[in-house]
């Protein structure tokens, strides 16, 4: 098995350092928000995780498309990595959204279109994993996975729009439900710095984890191949 590439080792360390800086910034550098207090700090992670979750699914759909074009199974492995990371970060997005909502609006859930769309996206990709689980043939599994990843990804923005339309006749009873909108809070310049830095760090973290996960996938694949050889 080839050793970990130097670049990846460096990336691991850089990611760790950046992440620690980001945590420090969020807790100590960012100002205390007047209305919401300490809990508002969740926001920096919440949005960043949401963005990265979306990125994971976008890459999964793209890699799936490339697989369908080329038939090279390595793209399927990459697509799966994208889905897994997307699921994890989306989950963080949803849970952090819930944690934020509770003290502010006294509710565990706001029917905010973005939050609901994130949940639907999560369910789509959970279904993706279940689909893969039910297929033995690796080529069929890759093909079906790719098709579903693309279909799922296309349906998400349409879901978002349909929820927005739906909401105009079903306004949320408690609170605005739109954490970033006017009436939520306005970001001071310092907050903006922390916000964008946080986005940046999460993106770096995403690619670091993605690279590691893809490497893992390649190892798994090699092991399967060796197993086949031994059994023949």
């Amino acid at each position: 098995m080839p050793p970990k590439p130097q670049a990846l080792k460096i990336l691991d360390i850089v990611t760790l350092i950046l992440f620690l800086i980001a945590v420090w910034m969020v807790f100590f550098y960012a100002p205390l928000e007047a209305v919401m207090g300490q809990v508002q700090r969740v926001f920096y992670f919440h949005v960043a995780a949401g963005w990265v979750g979306f990125l994971g699914f976008l890459l999964a759909a793209i890699f799936g498309g490339i697989y369908l074009r080329t038939g090279d199974l390595k793209w399927d492995r990459r697509s799966l990595a994208g889905v897994e990371l997307g699921l994890v970060f989306s989950f963080i997005n949803i849970v952090s959204g819930s944690i934020w909502a509770r003290p502010i609006w006294n509710t565990w859930w706001t029917w905010d279109p973005r939050l609901v769309t994130a949940t639907i996206m999560e369910l789509v990709y959970a279904a993706y994993l279940m689909l893969r689980q039910g297929i033995e043939n690796p080529v069929r599994r890759a093909r079906f996975g790719a098709v579903y990843a693309i279909l799922g990804f296309v349906s998400v923005p349409i879901s978002f729009l349909s929820i927005r339309i739906w909401r105009t006749i079903h306004p949320v009873v408690i609170g605005s439900g739109d954490p970033e909108a006017v009436g939520g809070f306005n970001m001071t310049p310092t907050m903006k710095v922390v916000f964008f830095f946080s986005l940046f760090v999460f993106t770096v973290l995403f690619f670091d984890l993605l690279w590691n996960r893809i490497r893992l996938g390649e190892f798994q694949h090699k092991i399967e191949q060796l197993k086949m050889k031994v059994m023949m």
Binding site: L73, N137, P138, V139, E224, Q225, M228
Partner: protein
């Protein structure tokens, strides 16, 4: 009629067909033998266009798979393990459906002719659900020939048939063979195929291990020929 060169078929990491070569001239009746797992069914599925080759060349009636699949399919009749028939439709409705799918001209006349060939004229208005396995198999052959294909592929057609049904199937196959169709049939039942085929090929471990015309095999007996091919193939 059929020309296969260096056919490789992989399913992910597993290679089932390893550079298989296979030539069949018009009118030949090839009995394809081989142990389980040798690749018989996979090979037949590639020939039938249901499975596409990973590498290599497959030509039927001059047309190439997978590129010219539609042209190949028009000239191909396939009988598999499963009858490919709709239980809730009658025999003639099934034939009518497939006739339409293949764009058969003069369909009603053909349906009658085909039912006559496979000995099911009296049951034409009965639901296929009520047919025995032997009858379904015969109707399945009818389905396979309704569009006058050049080449016929059979995958273990005798499986699950009793003596009477098998004898009827023999009759139908003999008639079809007599008309000059090119036929490839896989079979486990050496006794039956020994009488029908004009040539015997043995698949072992993803390639053709041996091929011999009927005359060459007759003296030794088919079983001996088969065993030797498997031994040599290892």
């Amino acid at each position: 009629m059929i020309s296969v060169r260096k056919l490789i078929k992989r399913f992910g990491p597993k290679t089932v067909l390893r550079g298989l070569n296979f030539e069949v001239a018009r009118g030949e009746f090839v009995g394809l033998l081989g142990p389980n797992g040798a690749g018989k069914t996979t090979f037949l599925r590639v020939l039938s266009s249901l499975s596409s080759p990973t590498l290599g060349e497959v030509r039927i009636s001059g047309f190439q798979l997978p590129g010219q699949a539609a042209a190949v399919r028009r000239r191909l009749g396939v009988v598999l393990h499963q009858p490919l028939l709709y239980g809730d439709l009658t025999a003639e409705e099934n034939l009518r459906f497939y006739g339409r799918m293949y764009g058969v001209a003069d369909l009603e006349a053909r349906i009658s002719a085909v039912l006559e060939l496979v000995g099911l004229s009296k049951r034409r208005r009965d639901l296929v659900r009520t047919f025995s396995r032997g009858m379904q198999q015969r109707l399945s052959i009818g389905r396979a020939v309704i569009h006058q294909p050049d080449v016929l592929l059979f995958d273990e057609p005798y499986t699950g048939l009793d003596q009477d049904a098998a004898a009827m199937l023999d009759d139908v196959l003999r008639q079809i063979a007599a008309q000059g169709h090119t036929i490839v049939m896989t079979s486990h039942d050496l006794a039956r195929i020994a009488d029908l085929a004009s040539r015997f090929d043995v698949i072992s471990r993803g390639v053709i291990a041996a091929s011999a015309p009927r005359e060459a095999v007759e003296s030794r007996g088919l079983l001996a020929f088969y065993r030797e091919a498997i031994r040599n193939g290892k």
